[in-house]
């Protein structure tokens, strides 16, 4: 959708690919041409579609194959431009451990930790003492929090190592455990970068994505409150650090370098995403740039048409990822058919939505329905505008997180910009139950229910008695 829109603005013909469940999806409806593929991971058939439709380039979006070096290489081989970095860059930055080593070489701070696994308890004690407690034990082969243990004091170390390595053994068939320093209340702050094939590299500032559930971002902002309010020097420092890593691999196209920040001005390299990101609109609204246009220019061999000093940040942008999920049931996905939809609009509101009334949200993919993005001159203005847009937004048929966002945006700690990656967990702990609806609200609901019930009966009667002029008159009379 996002990409089709950019292509149309540049008079480029778009070809969408779709899987069976996405036959009626928005991106297919909007594209100029469309072709079915067995799966979005099926490289061969995607390249076949490109050949059949004489496509010159492929935009991989931000899921599935967008960070797949094999796909980028296959495009190169097939003579189709891959709109993204080179396969070599993806490979070198894709592995977390390789990227961490590269970051250290480039003088970019990483979370302090052991370079080699702790071999035995004595070794672990020595490493932990050197780093200073609290420390984090992490499975070498791991991911998803498995084999992870926080240790606050040396007395807890022995038991924690035993638990972590047996958990790692069960999950990943490797009991190797690393030790890392714990960054207390870390914020997730990332830097948007762009590079062309002529070696020009710029950063487009930061995004703060600390509000996460299930380790996935749900609210993103540009700029970061931490940087805007207390640490303005961090933007240039982090931007330079991100560009050092990019320069080291000769990076071109868009990318994002992710960091943890501790609130005292320190930041630590996390990883690089070698693609356009879901949350890119907040950067677009604040810098005034169109990042997909920029991607297309770069892929076409053109130079980035501005220099670092031309990049200006104006105002505040905020994004909410609207998902078909139930925040009251641990954010459980809620697929199903969208029966009614009212979308927000008006000043400063941008909605990148992939759904419509009548669309069935498939079980197979991510439950993201839309990205609601607002812009305002300052953070409070953006919060107010977002609340207003959320009030206008209505999705009936599936559970969504719309109401949950309204609660968060009214939370005092959120409004203060006091964020860290544990925000959602802390929010649940201090959350108050929703107040009982007022008698007035109950009366309104009762009136609407009564009117709906009466209309249903009239519809049923109408169905039986063919067309009854009398009834439709009566109905419009009642509804006046």
């Amino acid at each position: 959708m996002r990409v089709v829109r950019a292509l149309r603005e540049l008079d480029i013909v778009s070809v969408a690919v779709f899987s069976d469940v996405d036959r009626a999806a928005q991106h297919v409806r909007l594209a100029d041409e469309a072709e079915r593929v067995e799966s979005y991971l099926d490289i061969d058939s995607i390249l076949e579609v490109a050949k059949k439709h004489e496509a010159e380039a492929i935009h991989p979006g931000y899921g599935f194959l967008s960070e797949n070096a094999g796909f980028a290489a296959a495009c190169e081989k097939a003579g189709v431009v891959f709109i993204g970095p080179s396969a070599d860059s993806i490979r070198r930055l894709g592995s977390k451990t390789a990227a961490r080593i590269l970051a250290k070489q480039m003088n970019v701070p990483v979370v302090p930790g052991s370079e080699e696994p702790a071999t035995n308890l004595e070794h672990a004690r020595e490493l932990a003492r050197k780093l200073g407690y609290p420390v984090l034990l992490k499975a070498a082969a791991g991911g998803g929090g498995k084999g992870m243990r926080r240790v606050d004091a040396e007395s807890e170390l022995e038991a924690a190592i035993r638990d972590a390595s047996s958990e790692a053994e069960r999950a990943f068939h490797s009991n190797e455990v690393y030790i890392e320093k714990v960054i207390e209340q870390p914020r997730h702050i990332e830097i948007q970068i762009a590079g062309d094939i002529h070696g020009n590299l710029v950063h487009l500032g930061e995004r703060e994505c600390s509000v996460q559930r299930r380790h996935q971002k749900i609210i993103e902002e540009c700029p970061s409150h931490l940087i805007a309010a207390t640490h303005p020097e961090m933007r240039a420092e982090m931007g330079e650090a991100a560009l050092r890593i990019a320069r080291a691999v000769g990076y071109h196209n868009l990318g994002t370098v992710e960091f943890l920040a501790d609130g005292k001005g320190n930041f630590y390299f996390l990883e690089v995403n070698t693609r356009l990101q879901v949350e890119h609109p907040v950067t677009e609204l604040v810098t005034g740039l169109d990042l997909v246009h920029l991607q297309l220019k770069i892929a076409n061999g053109e130079s980035i048409p501005f220099a670092q000093e031309d990049v200006k940040w104006r105002g505040w942008a905020m994004e909410c990822r609207v998902c078909a999920e139930d925040p009251e049931q641990n954010f459980f996905p809620s697929p199903g058919k969208i029966l009614q939809l009212r979308e927000p609009a008006g000043p400063g509101v941008r909605l990148d939505s992939g759904v419509y009334a009548g669309w069935t949200v498939p079980l197979e993919y991510d439950p993201l329905l839309a990205k609601l993005v607002v812009w305002a001159p300052d953070r409070l203005g953006a919060i107010r505008r977002m609340l207003r847009a959320l009030e206008e937004y209505s999705i009936v048929g599936v559970e969504t997180n719309l109401e949950f966002f309204r609660e968060i945006l009214n939370d005092a700690q959120f409004r203060d910009g006091d964020l860290d990656t544990g925000f959602i967990a802390d929010f649940f702990a201090r959350r108050k139950p929703a107040p009982e609806p007022s008698p007035e609200l109950e009366l309104v609901v009762a009136l609407a229910a009564a009117a709906h019930s009466r209309n249903e009966k009239l519809d049923a009667k109408n169905g039986k008695q063919e067309t009854s002029h009398w009834l439709s008159e009566g109905r419009s009379e009642m509804l006046r």
């Binding site: 996905p333 309104v444 709906h452 019930s453």
Partner: protein, 150 residues
């Protein structure tokens, strides 16, 4: 004529002339004016009655028309039974309550696993467990009633 409507288990009385302030603006979408205040409600019919959304909040409503035959007594109306549904297809890992148990709001009732995620269905209000409709290990479909609260 008076209508009795249950809104989230609360009985609300409405006179038919009050419906003059209600206009259907789109199918299932109602603009409601009450003493000069403007509201918009969205209604859809489901198995349990009419589901409404107003001001970002969800409501369940049931309309009792005195002309309808076989109407339940007022006492039965006020009892406000509530079904706890399975949100998606999955497998019951554990039933945490028994019939007759008193439960508090937020208390876990049934653990269902789907898409490799375990999920605890919680009571959205306090009450008694009237009926448990599933057993450990049972497969359930989306919308199946797991537990009935009363």
């Amino acid at each position: 004529m008076k209508l009795q409507i249950l809104v989230n288990g609360h009985a609300v009385e409405v006179k038919s002339e009050d419906l003059g302030g209600v206009v259907q603006v789109e199918p299932g979408v109602y603009s409601v004016l009450v003493e000069g205040r403007s509201f918009e409600a969205r209604a859809i019919r489901n198995d349990a009655g009419i589901r409404l959304e107003l001001d970002g909040r969800r409501f369940a409503a049931e309309v009792r028309d005195p002309r309808d035959r076989g109407q339940k007594s007022a006492a039965a109306l006020g009892s406000g039974r509530q079904n706890v549904f399975a949100p998606m297809p999955g497998k019951v890992i554990r039933v945490l309550v028994r019939e007759g148990d008193a439960v508090d709001v937020g208390q876990g009732l049934v653990v269902v696993e789907a898409m490799k995620m375990q999920n605890e269905m919680k009571a959205s209000r306090g009450g008694n467990v009237v009926e448990v409709r599933v057993r450990d290990g049972e497969t359930v479909s989306a919308g199946d009633v797991l537990v009935v609260l009363g």
